[in-house]
């Protein structure tokens, strides 16, 4: 008896549309099974593949636990929800959509803080004067922590923010933020500035494979077949561009 290969794709919004388009461009037709609002799907001609529609963050979680073999979701979510992501997840392909930068942004009026290192120097004075650490608002707690550790910044603490993060410095609940931005307009409107070396991650949608999943029963072979198909039909792909971005993103890390 063979085990089907399970691939999770985002269940709504632009990520879902772009994923569908991406498959289509490689000669793969993804469609839902049964009711239009259901969460199961298939790829025409690939009987051994099950498509499941999940929220983008659930995909990251299920890749970690191995409930699904493969998935498509943003690199930001993978790095945030999976400690040691490079050991536990295979990053197979950058897909060229779903772009968003995770950045450190501070009030523009902090003229003395241009680089991440300035933050640490300033944090000592800040703590002495305000009897507390700098507060960083973010929903990316792990990414923030890892980045600041790498940059040797310790004088801060995180306040979790699940929405309207850019407004927190003006509102007074935080001093600076780590958040995603695509155009930078919201940052500007809230008088925030990205630090000169404050781009933590240039994220985009990735095709990923779980190392925790059971790859026996034919799943590994089906994956090979699928990857051949995705690599073969790269005419519609912006593969060069995607590769450039992949390289660039790696450099950032």
């Amino acid at each position: 008896m063979t085990e089907n290969l399970t691939i999770a794709v985002p269940s709504k919004g632009r990520l879902m549309e772009e994923t569908s388009k991406y498959f289509h461009a490689h000669g793969l037709n993804m469609q839902k099974i049964g009711h239009d609002r259901g969460y199961q799907g298939e790829i025409e001609g690939f009987e051994d593949i099950d498509i499941v529609y999940l929220s983008a963050s659930e995909i990251a979680y299920q890749l970690k636990t191995g409930q699904i073999h493969m998935g498509i979701t943003g690199e930001d979510l993978v790095r945030e929800s999976i400690i040691g992501a490079d050991q536990r997840i295979e990053f197979l392909k950058q897909l060229g959509f779903g772009h968003a930068d995770v950045v450190v942004a501070v009030p523009d009026c902090w003229l003395d803080v241009r680089m991440v290192q300035d933050l640490e120097e300033m944090a000592i004075e800040f703590r002495a004067r305000h009897s507390r650490r700098l507060k960083v608002a973010t929903k990316y707690m792990n990414i923030t922590r890892q980045f600041f550790t790498k940059k040797s910044v310790a004088g801060y603490r995180i306040v979790e923010s699940l929405g309207a993060t850019e407004g927190t410095p003006m509102g007074g609940t935080a001093d600076l933020i780590v958040d995603i931005t695509s155009t930078g307009e919201t940052l500007l409107a809230n008088h925030l500035r990205i630090l000169d070396d404050g781009i933590i991650l240039k994220s985009q949608a990735n095709l990923l494979a779980s190392r925790a999943a059971d790859w026996g029963g034919g799943a590994a072979e089906v994956r090979l077949e699928l990857m051949n198909q995705l690599n073969k039909n790269s005419s519609a792909d912006q593969s060069d561009e995607a590769q450039d971005q992949a390289d660039q993103s790696l450099e950032e890390k």
């Binding site: 523009d108 902090w110 003229l111 310790a154 004088g155 007074g172 001093d175």
Partner: protein, 395 residues
């Protein structure tokens, strides 16, 4: 992900016996038993130790949205007990505790018992004869370890106060001292800062800001603030957030001063490096320091006296220092230690596998919210590691 074993302790009987021996020693010495809460407000740790605590402990949000954590150590919880029961303790207390602590186990080889592990320890709060109480705490730690039948161990000593004394004896801008001192517990960053200070400061600012900085060096504080304010206006940048104009100006002035400051002289850097290289038997350290002070013309008299006084007390208490090593760089990786620090290591153990450790933390009580600044010192023994050693050694 590691499986979580059903039992917190592999051999409960042995653990209980071990715990009993150690805690009776503490209570016999007049220490009072306390039982700090296992669940602690995360805020306290985030404030004291910083965000890194999230990476190595169990921080969670309860259904009411409050951020809590499973205590990653027992020193902070014990200090909170002392502050909370201030009416009972007054300004002085000697307490002991024993119980589980929790840390996230890193690496493939991490066992369950590095996730949940038992610690027994003592804390002494309030003013005492500084060097005497330091020697006492180390002596008691060693006695507790011997009491459970372990005799092969190394002692590692350090002194953060000594380093601060050295730093303050060397002539340099106060803000550089502060940066070095604040980063002593992070060796890599420390070296990076030292290197940075050894070369002319180079700020990659855009020209507008650069010319603002250049001006600040010739201006008074008040005039500087006016200039910074003008700059913000000219660029339509509103002042938002908790930092005030004087704070921002102050930091800009520090940067401006750095731009024209002479780099830290090679002799001074060498002096710091030579101090940090010291790793010697505790009784030989005094001479090394005297030598260092003499050659560089520094006044370390007071710090040296205190060091020697501690050695005298260790002698009086008959602490065997033949397996002890003083390492200047040894500063523990917890940010709240301020002076004398020590660690007891099994002879063949890797560095982070210490079986006991402790030290002086004079700033903690006040920064935890006490109205008074009271000194404090303590020690904690890793019961699981001790139990594992006894298991391997004695049987």
């Amino acid at each position: 992900m590691n499986e979580i074993s059903a039992s917190a302790v592999p051999d409960l009987k042995a653990m209980n016996a071990l715990e009993e021996k150690i805690t009776s020693l503490f209570s016999g010495q007049g220490f009072e038993h306390i039982d700090p809460a296992i669940i602690q407000p995360a805020d306290v740790y985030l404030q004291q130790i910083g965000e890194s605590i999230r990476g190595r402990s169990y921080v969670f949000t309860d259904i009411d949205g409050q951020e809590l954590c499973l205590r990653p150590d027992l020193t902070v919880p014990a200090a909170r007990v002392f502050i909370e029961d201030h009416e009972h303790y007054g300004d002085k207390a000697r307490v002991y505790y024993s119980g589980p602590t929790f840390r996230y186990p890193y690496g493939d080889t991490a066992s369950d018992h590095s996730r949940e592990f038992r610690q027994a320890g003592i804390e002494i709060f309030g003013k005492e004869d500084t060097e005497k109480v330091e020697a006492e705490v180390l002596s008691l730690t060693i006695n507790a370890i011997k009491e459970v039948g372990i005799s092969n161990f190394n002692i590692r000593l350090g002194d953060l106060g000594l380093f601060d004394a050295l730093l303050y004896a060397i002539d340099m801008p106060e803000r550089w001292r502060k940066r070095l001192s604040e980063n002593f517990w992070r060796p890599e960053e420390f070296r990076a800062i030292l290197k940075q200070l050894s070369a002319p400061q180079n700020l990659e600012y855009e020209e507008g800001l650069r010319s603002l900085l250049r001006k600040l060096n010739d201006l008074s504080t008040k005039e500087s603030e006016a200039h910074v304010s003008q700059y913000l206006n000219d660029h339509a940048i509103p002042l938002i957030g908790a930092r005030t104009l004087p704070e921002i100006t102050n930091q800009l002035r520090a940067k401006a001063a750095d731009l024209v400051a002479n780099p830290l002289e090679p002799e001074k850097i060498e002096l710091i490096e030579r101090y940090l290289e010291i790793s010697a038997p505790p009784k030989a350290v005094g001479a090394r320091l005297e030598d260092l002070a003499e050659k560089s013309g520094l006044d370390l008299t007071h710090a040296l006296e205190r060091y020697q006084k501690r050695i005298e007390w260790l002698n009086k208490l008959e602490v065997d220092l033949s397996n002890a090593q003083f390492t200047a760089e040894f500063g523990r990786n917890l940010e709240y230690y301020t002076g004398f620090v020590f660690q007891i290591e099994k002879q063949d153990m890797e560095q982070d596998g210490h079986i006991a450790g402790g030290g002086r933390y004079d700033n903690l009580i006040q920064s935890l919210g006490s109205t008074k600044s009271l000194p404090a010192i303590g020690t904690a023994l890793h019961l699981d590691r001790l139990a594992a050693l006894i298991d391997g050694d004695v049987l």
